[in-house]
């Protein structure tokens, strides 16, 4: 393992966090030096020094092994979590060490689960830092790093291939080196448009920028305890639905649609499946909310139903109503969509709708094969034929995802789950949704959960964000001596 290359690249990732800590400190200064100024400045200085330290000795290099690449991804995320927790821990209040770690992991992984009872108690600078962790995590700590590494560098190509899942790379229709730029253009573009939309709809500039960063990262941190519901504006709710949906669509498709000025690229089987699922689930949820007497009017029922289905499917976690008292059916649907989630190549977490569609098609093919054993069948995604070697990893990922939910649930039950959130919390955190049901529902928080559960949930968030394999790859390379030196 080349520690020199790893330390230099991880340092770049930390410098990105340091930059946003500095911006948060500037906001604190603008507010006349609120209580978070010292924590932010101290955190910035320490993070900056650790980030810049390798640059003193280590020169740019073009050599990087597969193992080094995975280690860079793993450590970039892990150290971002640790250093990102510093402003919270230093500020104090409800942030114990575990709570600060949980909030930081939740921010960087764009989960949006919080431990805060009253978000408004935080100073504005710390609220900005919370949203900034979403912004950094939404684009991906490593993608930020890739934006800085020169285009021609082989390091960049290798990291691009590792950070972006194979599913998401397929639809970019461009060279791997360009995909990072396309992802960044669309992401930042969406953020800017979301900011102006929120601002125009009546939010203050500060709330608008925080919610824009949060919605485009599919995060869910809000500047209000009542989330989007606090604004009591149908326009803001509708804008949020639109941006939550866009953040869950493959960014490559959005880019191609914008460049070609046509919606044709969006008319692919995955998008059709995703949109149909959202529409069907929204209608069923809305009907259930109205017919079971939760909402008084049809308009409110459709707004609540659609908003929360899109919010959970896009793994954003914003809310306009408390689902703690909702009937069983819409709650079950929310859990279902939070498992499947949005498209690959977007900022969403979860299994990804692409993989689920591949699974359905593979099941269909298997049934056909059983009925007509001598016929030849193939799995098609639009015009593209998927081979077994492409289908197998996707189905394996789904199986691993479900296994991890089971494992996490059992672990939670073993260490003690006083509030009964082992399963729902595991699903929600592994899929990076954030809110779940009950007291950790749309307007709830994880503050009452025991520390052991918070740690398990934060590991889930990390696994979900990097799509499981990189962490296992690093752990395997560390602990499995048999394969040492092969990469």
């Amino acid at each position: 393992m080349n520690l020199k290359v790893i330390s230099r690249n991880v340092g770049i990732a930390l410098l990105v966090s340091a930059l946003f800590m500095f911006l948060s400190a500037l906001i604190s200064l603008r507010d006349g030096g609120d209580s978070a100024l010292a924590p932010l400045l101290i955190s910035f200085t320490i993070t900056f020094i650790v980030g810049i330290f390798p640059f003193i000795f280590v020169r740019k290099t073009s050599q990087i092994s597969l193992k080094d690449g995975y280690m860079i991804i793993f450590l970039s995320w892990l150290l971002s979590f640790i250093f990102g927790a510093m402003p919270y821990a230093l500020w104090g209040g409800p942030f114990t060490v575990v709570n600060a770690w949980f909030e930081s992991v939740s921010g960087f992984t764009t989960t949006g689960a919080t431990i805060l009872d009253a978000v408004e108690d935080l100073p504005r600078s710390l609220l900005f830092w919370r949203s900034a962790t979403h912004f950094i995590g939404g684009l991906g700590v490593v993608v930020f790093l890739l934006l800085i590494i020169p285009t021609s560098s082989p390091v960049r190509l290798r990291l691009t291939n590792m950070e972006l899942s194979s599913l998401s790379r397929d639809d970019y229709k461009s060279r791997a080196n360009r995909t990072v730029y396309i992802f960044a253009y669309v992401y930042i573009g969406l953020c800017v448009v979301a900011f102006f939309s929120y601002w125009a709809a009546g939010m203050s500039a500060f709330d608008a920028i925080n919610h824009a960063m949060s919605v485009c990262a599919a995060g869910g941190f809000s500047t209000k305890t009542l989330s989007i519901g606090a604004f009591q504006s149908t326009t803001i709710s509708l804008i949020t639905i639109v941006f939550m949906f866009l953040a869950s669509v493959h960014f490559g498709l959005i880019f191609v649609s914008l460049v070609s000025r046509s919606l044709r690229p969006l008319r692919n089987p995955v998008m059709r499946f995703y949109v149909t699922s959202l529409v069907v689930f929204s209608i069923i949820s809305s009907l259930s909310l109205k017919l079971q007497g939760v909402d008084a009017t049809w308009g409110r029922a459709f707004l609540d139903g659609t908003f929360h289905v899109v919010s959970y499917a896009s793994t954003t976690g914003f809310a306009i109503a408390d689902n703690a008292n909702w009937p069983m059916l819409p709650c079950f649907l929310l859990m279902l969509v939070s498992l499947v989630c949005g498209c690959a190549g977007s900022t969403t977490g979860g299994m990804k709708v692409d993989r689920v569609l591949v699974l359905f098609k593979a099941i269909h093919m298997q049934i056909q094969k059983t009925l007509y054993p001598s016929s030849v069948f193939e799995v098609r995604m639009g015009r593209r034929v998927l081979h077994d070697e492409e289908i197998y990893p996707q189905i394996l990922y789904l199986a691993l995802f479900v296994l991890l939910i089971g494992f996490s649930t059992i672990l939670c039950l073993l260490v003690g789950d006083p509030n009964g959130h082992a399963l729902t919390g595991s699903v929600s955190t592994l899929a990076n949704v954030g809110p779940s049901l009950g007291s950790i529902g749309s307007l709830g928080n994880y503050g009452a959960e025991p520390n052991t559960l918070k740690i398990i949930f934060s590991v889930n968030m990390f696994l979900g964000r990097v799509e499981i394999y990189p962490i296992f790859a690093v752990l395997s390379s560390i602990f499995n001596r048999k394969y040492q030196g092969r990469a």
């Binding site: 020199k4 330390s7 200085t45 020094i49 330290f53 230093l90």
Partner: protein, 275 residues
Amino acid sequence: MFVKVKNWFREFRLSLRMKITLSLSAIAVVLLMSSIISVLEYRHMSNYVSGLIASNVNNIHRTQELVSAVDGYNLKMLAVIGDDTLTEVPGFDRNAFLDRCNALKGTLGDNTKAQALADSVVYAYSAYMLASTELEDVFESSFINTRDWYFTRLQPLFTRTRVYLDELSASLYEELENNSKDFDSGFFRSIIPSSVAVSVGIILVFLLMFYIQTYYVTPLYRMLRYLRDYLGYRHRYTYTFDGNDQLNDLNTSITELTEENRSLRKRIADLKDKQ
């Protein structure tokens, strides 16, 4: 201008002295940060705890004052009733009592239980005082027994006031005890940030050690070995390593010197052969 800056950055290199100075300064800054955090946390913790404990003790003291004021008044009332003659109505500074109650309520903060008890004290006290104003009428009345009046009318109101005052006192003691417990956890919490900063400092020290080993110690050892091989066995000096400071320049110079030396030796050998 931009090209010039870009070129300057491209050609910029840190000298060996600069690298050592910068890295050690970075570690020094992190350690300084950790000490600043420790001092800040200590000051914050100290102010918080001393403020909290002082407030708790003050509240307990105020409650005790209220208790003794009510007890004192009640004793005076009892004395008058025991004498069976009303020479003077016992005096009580009601405004001072209510001021103390309000001051107490103002410093109870988030303790909702104590707030509620303080309110109860005020209401019970008001009822007790209202009843005690009947004393003159009771003495003037020919059909009310003063002792009966005291034990059936005033005593229960006094007891109620006293019970609320005792409960308030107990609640304040409980708060003091909880705050002492919080202090233990708060102390642990206050050392965490500085421990993180110290840990970062230690990590940087190890990282510096690794870099010095990789970029200076190991190359120096290898240079020495290659030089010995050259001097002892006439092996070519071909050692190169990653780096762009004075040590690398030294290595390049040694390579050039040894090559020059080799060519000179070769020429001398050729000349000897020709002779």
